[in-house]
Assembly symmetry: C2
Homo-oligomer: 353 residues x 2
């Protein structure tokens, strides 16, 4: 059965996603019987589309050369015709599964422009694999309800710590369990900075500029170091795993910008290391969510999660404490997690996973 | 939609499974719309069955009191009529999902009597959630092929390290990834024994009798300490995650019975701790599988997995190293993993997970 992808965003992660689909084309045909086609690829300025599938070699070549989407011979700037019709073309044949893969950047307060595109997509029968957090944080209930109504899937591994399988674990591996609490090291920038401060005894500012130099911090890392990125992730994970419907405004957030080498050193004397932790726990029939740097004892698994590593701990009634860690981050893991969601959407429609 | 369960085995794990279904009845109705019924429960000597569902309170009461199944008022000894018809009754109504939950003990060499019951079940349209390793190790290819032919699912989380989500991770979270290698601490008895030897400096024999006293070793722990239990688990995990079709005879196995306090002490000087490791890796277009005690450096996550804890590491192309650990073992985790498989079988037939 054919799989049509509409890829939103042709930046680092979007390009990596194209390269991944190209590189794994034969594998996913052999393993899962999936024949992927790109129905469209769009950027902030326009799109390329073909209801029979774009030439994937052309796209992969552009991705490898880090070309701008506007350099594609069939690029159509927005405004020429209806934007949604361009991004979400009517694909050929009924016997197919359609997935919008969201890898663009969107406004943090409004989730736009992606949120509107997601809504259009769902109402046209496209499933969603989102690597973007903002639209989900802004409108999770609305998107979930729309997906239910239109019979499509909404997956977002790429928005919830990428290579770290948070949502899969919560929904599949912990089916039937009650999750009592969740803790996570969910943001690579802050973990990288705190690791450098611990290992090298340097200041926050020095560590942050090293993180920037090594590509572990965005040019503007405000949302990372203030704890907002971690808050978005623990919020989405808690809502999925603990059956709550919390908002970002319910999360108490403390960043790492005030941490001094003296703090780090005095915790080290007590055999503890500072980690940026997002956590959610049950209290009086409610769920509380908090983000702050915490001093983790050396004997704890979390103390071993250094650099750009990530980790999550689920405390459950049936399996006790389940801890998952992953070392790899960056665009490959982000694109890989979107790729995984696309495959699992396909498989779940095909019948059984 | 109704869910009919045929439970094979009313020992520690079987009883725990019944208690779990009873305790979670309301939750799984609320969370997943599942109404579970026990169509039958069977032991080595006979069964109780009701095509409309057995009284679950009676079963749960017997489980709590650790009663023998033969004490059930409707107990039918084998021989009175066809055994398979008793264990696998024709359940009422077509709109239902049927799952055989295997929690009996079976012969290690032949997988019997469970293997024959599993085959009958599959040919009658029952899905399988197995907490037993032997039938799968003996006849994995045959069971997989039959399940495909009859359109049923074969799940076995409870046979592959229970609370540690090995197969889920391999099939769902690593969809699209290539697994290059797998390592696991998969057997509670050997990990408990090696932990005691490391922490208390005692001999293998002393540690084993303490493990027995604390319920972490069977009366006959031969298959655990010889590495065979670990071999069965890493075999099933490797076959699922690496696309190979290895047999138990392909696994090179070394036990822990020869380990001395002197070995433990000399590794400690090198900042290493002995762990019983099952591992599988790709070599020359083939997969190699081996089980042996290995000296793990203190900085490794695996060094922190003590007592009855378990862990698995997947080395993948897209996400680097993914490590999962779990502390809880025993009948609750075993029954919980079967319970999880039953829920996921139900959900996957219902449409989408």
């Amino acid at each position: 059965m054919k799989l049509y992808i509409s890829l939103l965003g042709f930046g680092k992660v979007g390009r990596q996603f194209v390269k991944l689909v190209r590189a794994k084309e034969q594998d996913i045909l052999n393993w899962h019987g999936i024949e992927p086609k790109f129905a469209s690829v769009s950027s902030s300025r326009g799109y390329v589309a073909n209801p029979d599938g774009l030439d994937i070699d052309v796209l992969a070549g552009m991705a490898i050369r880090e070309q701008n989407l506007a350099e594609h011979p069939d690029f159509v700037p927005y405004g020429a015709k209806d934007k949604m019709d361009g991004i979400l073309p009517e694909v050929a044949g009924k016997d197919c599964i359609k997935v919008l893969v969201a890898a663009a950047s969107s406004d943090f307060e409004t989730g736009e422009p992606t949120l509107s595109i997601m809504k259009s997509a769902i109402s046209r029968g496209w499933n969603i694999a989102s690597m973007e957090k903002s639209p989900l944080v802004v409108a999770f209930d609305e998107l979930t309800e729309m997906a239910r109504k239109f019979g499509v899937e909404l997956r977002y591994s790429g928005a919830t710590a990428a290579g770290l399988p948070t949502i899969d674990i919560a929904k599949i591996s912990l089916a039937g369990s009650k999750v009592m609490a969740i803790e996570g090291i969910l943001n690579a920038t802050t973990n990288y900075v705190l690791t450098l401060m611990s290992e090298d005894g340097i200041s926050y500012e020095e560590a942050l500029s090293m993180a920037r130099a090594h590509g572990y911090a965005e040019p503007d890392p405000t949302r990372d170091v203030m704890g907002i990125d971690t808050a978005c992730k623990i919020l989405l994970i808690a809502n999925a795993a603990m059956g709550c419907r919390k908002k970002l405004s319910d999360v108490k957030i403390t960043g790492i910008t005030h941490i001094t080498p003296r703090d780090v050193a005095s915790w080290a004397i007590e055999q503890r290391t500072l980690k940026m932790i997002g956590r959610a726990w049950r209290e009086d029939d409610d769920v509380k969510i908090e983000v702050s740097p915490m001093a983790v004892p050396y004997y704890d698994m979390f103390a071993k999660v250094n650099g750009s590593g990530k980790a999550v701990r689920f405390v459950t009634d049936l399996f006790g404490e389940l801890v998952v860690t992953v070392q790899e981050g960056g665009p490959v893991a982000a694109a890989g997690s979107g790729f995984k969601d696309v495959i699992n959407i396909f498989r779940s429609f095909q019948g059984r996973i």
